[in-house]
């Protein structure tokens, strides 16, 4: 059962991911990205991280991607046009990416040849309580710092955006 769920949603994630890359219109890409995130949320569930799955959907897909869509609409970005610059990137990109993938896979399979399978529910520590307590005890300092970071980001965004209004 887990296997099937994984396979379906993994495939969905990959297909959506390819869509993100290949679609010309930014809105299409954004929607595909939302799809990726949703699929990933299910996979997180499989991996025993219910809290994170919820957060993923709520925050990532729900807030960040909406923000993206807002900006896309605001800028009225159209489909992409062809361009002639940065040919080197495209030239070198393909082999590099292939290399990246192969190396990563190689390493992964080297490290975990026939590892334990993932069974839904075998890892019960991903609950809200456990994550929360870890956040507020062991990782209190990073927590506070990231909250500061968010504050700064808000300030930065406001400042950058403020100029626009003039």
């Amino acid at each position: 059962m887990d296997a099937i769920i994984f396979l379906i949603f993994a495939a969905a994630a990959v297909i959506f991911g390819i869509n993100v890359v290949l679609r010309t219109h930014p809105v299409s890409s954004a929607l595909a990205l939302i799809g990726v995130m949703a699929s990933l949320a299910v996979i997180y569930l499989l991996l025993g991280a219910p809290f994170l799955a919820a957060v993923q959907v709520l925050v990532y897909a729900g807030a960040i991607m909406v923000l993206f869509l807002f900006v896309i609409m605001l800028l009225n970005a159209g489909s992409e046009k062809k361009s002639r610059g940065a040919w080197m990137a495209r030239l070198a990109g393909v082999p590099l990416l292939v290399a990246l993938l192969t190396i990563l896979s190689f390493v992964i399979f080297r490290m975990y040849p026939r590892s334990v399978g993932v069974k839904f529910g075998s890892f019960a520590a991903g609950t809200v309580e456990r994550v929360g307590s870890a956040l507020f005890t062991t990782y209190l300092l990073p927590f506070e710092i990231t909250s500061l970071l968010v504050l700064i980001a808000i300030l930065g965004a406001v400042v950058l955006g403020y100029k626009e209004l003039d």
Partner: protein, 614 residues
């Protein structure tokens, strides 16, 4: 450490520091007081020390600290006092004091008053260091230091191009001599592993007398090279006449009484070595004799009063070298002492004359000062008779000791020296008569100098006349171990008669028959002009040495090597860096995606590296 010898040079040094650092802000009276008191106190301390150390049979050394310690070589900062040093410091501080007092009057209207006295005090410090030093290196420090002060003081009126040129010339020509001195020091270190006078001379006793050119002769010759530079002998004398650009007190103190005698002092100090290297000693005597004669001939026809005395100094220094070179070290030093008296007086008197005439230095535009400046007249008269060797003056005693020693060494030297003595009398009295007799040929209003200037003149005049009775040579002789020259009345009479003949000829030419010099000059115009132009030695040096060096430096060293090689390589490196930077900046395509590709590349490489290690 009881005598505290270091105080002697330290006092003028303190004067230098005060006047040098604060002089501009102090009132002139304070500057004068500081300068003169420092030298006066130094003189008094010298007296105290010398009397305290009497009878000074052995050298008294004070060791202060180790300056250089390398392996077994130890060079200390040591001062010493023996009879030779005592004579020297007495002359330096005594005559120096008189000249300081005089200078207070002479330089009274100069804007650089404080600077002048600061330099003068600094000079005293270095000179005293030179004379009190107990080893060659410390002496060399003083040697260089007086050279520096000479440069500073010659070029004192630095806004005059001729003055700065003269300062440069003095320093550079001295450098050639210093080169010889340095090489001699190196040889001494190699052969004796010490530079301390006592130790070197003690070790010398084991060396045989050299009859060929050996190490000792080499050292002696190199030291002689240094001495010719500092004491203005042939061939390095050319800076001294030009040094007359400096103020007259400077000419008196540095270029007559003290600095230029450093070479003679050095040879006398090194007597034990020279006695073992007779060839070098012979060279000393020869150079001295040639210089004495040669310079005297030039002095015969010079028209600037200071130039006459400058060539006279060169000539008299030649006599001193002749004295020490023939083994009569005591006689040479004796002449050094008497020369300090009458030459300083001559220069200071000349300064008084120049002061009286508001700056005029040309003898042809003087005259009749006998009545206008009586003090100057009488004191200069004392100096002139002394230098001419009139019997029983100081100059008579010292010069004749030298000439007698010369005769016993080689009779022909005696004759040349006596001829030069006659010329000395002639040119000194020529200047004297031209300045003081006859009618005043100038335009100014001659007036006598103030007491602050005439009193030192009087003191020096007294010394010039009576100084011969100070038993200097007798006192110094035990130090040198050389037998005193036999007194030969015939020789004395002959040289005196030459001197008197010189005086008579001068009187004839410039008082009785003033038209004679002009007539002779036109008759022998070629010779006259050559001598007047100092035998064109300066021009020869310029063409043969100076020009090639300067041109060679400019074309080869400057343009060839410095500009094209060194600058080019440095600039080339810079250009190379710029070129590489140029290439590298193409990488900044401005396209984010290119940058991303690079990041990716980096990541892949990193992964390969890390993965490979597993």
């Amino acid at each position: 450490m009881e005598q505290q010898l270091w105080i002697i040079p330290a006092l003028p040094l303190a004067g230098f520091l005060v006047n040098g650092l604060l002089g501009r802000r102090l009132p002139k009276a304070a500057v004068t007081a500081v300068a003169i008191t420092s030298v006066a106190l130094s003189f008094l301390w010298v007296l105290k020390t010398v009397t305290g150390l009497m009878p000074l049979d052995a050298a008294y050394v004070e060791r202060y600290f180790d300056w250089i310690r390398v392996g077994s070589l130890r060079i200390g900062c040591d001062l010493m006092m023996d009879r030779l040093t005592a004579v020297m410091v007495l002359v330096v501080t005594g005559v120096g004091l008189l000249i300081h007092i005089y200078a207070a009057g002479y330089m009274a209207h100069d804007t650089g008053y404080a600077r002048f006295f600061a330099y003068l005090n600094l000079f005293m410090f270095f000179m005293l260091t030179l004379v009190l030093a107990a080893n060659y290196l410390l002496m060399f420090v003083g040697w260089e230091g007086v050279g520096l002060c000479s440069y500073l003081l010659i070029g004192f009126w630095f806004l005059r191009k001729s003055a700065t040129n003269a300062g440069n010339k003095a320093f550079i020509v001295n450098r050639v001599g210093d080169f010889g001195f340095s090489l001699a020091i190196f040889l001494l270190v190699i052969n004796f592993n010490t530079l301390d006078f006592g130790e070197v001379f003690a070790k010398l006793s084991g060396w045989p007398v050299e009859n060929t050119v050996g190490t000792l002769t080499l050292v002696g010759l190199l030291l002689l090279l240094g001495a010719t530079g500092k004491s203005a002998q042939v061939p390095l004398y050319v800076w001294l006449p030009d040094a007359m650009e400096g103020p007259t007190p400077v000419s008196a103190l540095i270029h007559a009484a003290t600095m230029v005698t450093a070479g003679v002092y050095m040879v006398a100090r090194t007597a034990p070595l020279y006695l073992k290297a007779p060839m070098a000693l012979e060279m000393v005597a020869l150079i001295g004799l040639v210089t004495a004669f040669f310079a005297a001939t030039i002095g015969l026809v010079q028209n600037d009063i200071k130039k006459v005395f400058a060539y006279s100094t060169v000539s008299q220094l030649g006599y001193m070298f002749l004295g020490v070179g023939t083994g009569a070290f005591a006689a040479g030093i004796f002449h050094l002492v008497t020369h300090a008296f009458f030459k300083a007086l001559l220069f200071l008197g000349a300064g008084s004359v120049i002061h009286a005439l508001s700056g005029e230095q040309d003898l042809r535009i003087m005259g009749g000062l006998r009545k206008k400046t009586p003090w100057t007249f009488w004191t200069l008269a004392c100096a002139s008779v002394s230098i001419a060797g009139v019997p029983f003056t100081a100059g008579f005693f010292s010069k004749d000791e030298i000439l007698v020693a010369a005769y016993h060494h080689a009779p022909w030297m005696y004759w040349v020296g006596t001829l030069a003595a006659g010329m000395t009398a002639f040119y000194v009295f020529r200047a004297f008569f031209l300045a003081f007799f006859g009618e005043y040929r100038g335009e100014g209003h001659p007036h006598e100098s103030p007491a602050v200037m005439t009193l030192p003149l009087a003191a020096l005049a007294l010394l010039s006349l009576a100084g011969g009775f100070i038993p200097v040579p007798g006192w110094l002789e035990p130090l040198f171990g050389a037998p005193s020259a036999h007194h030969n009345p015939v020789l004395v009479a002959v040289s005196v008669s030459f001197g008197l003949a010189g005086i008579f000829l001068a009187w004839l030419f410039y008082v009785a028959r003033p038209e004679l010099p002009g007539a002779l000059a036109t008759r022998f115009s070629g010779i006259y002009r050559t001598v007047l132009n100092k035998y064109y030695v300066d021009e020869i040096y310029n063409a043969a040495i100076v020009k090639p060096v300067v041109e060679g430096s400019r074309s080869l060293l400057w343009k060839g090597i410095d500009v094209e090689l060194i600058d080019a390589s440095v600039n080339g490196i810079a250009a190379r860096a710029r070129g590489v930077g140029d290439m590298l900046r193409r990488m900044q395509s401005g396209y984010i995606r290119n940058y991303a590709a690079w990041v990716l590349l980096g990541a892949v490489v990193l992964m390969l590296a890390i993965g490979g290690t597993r």
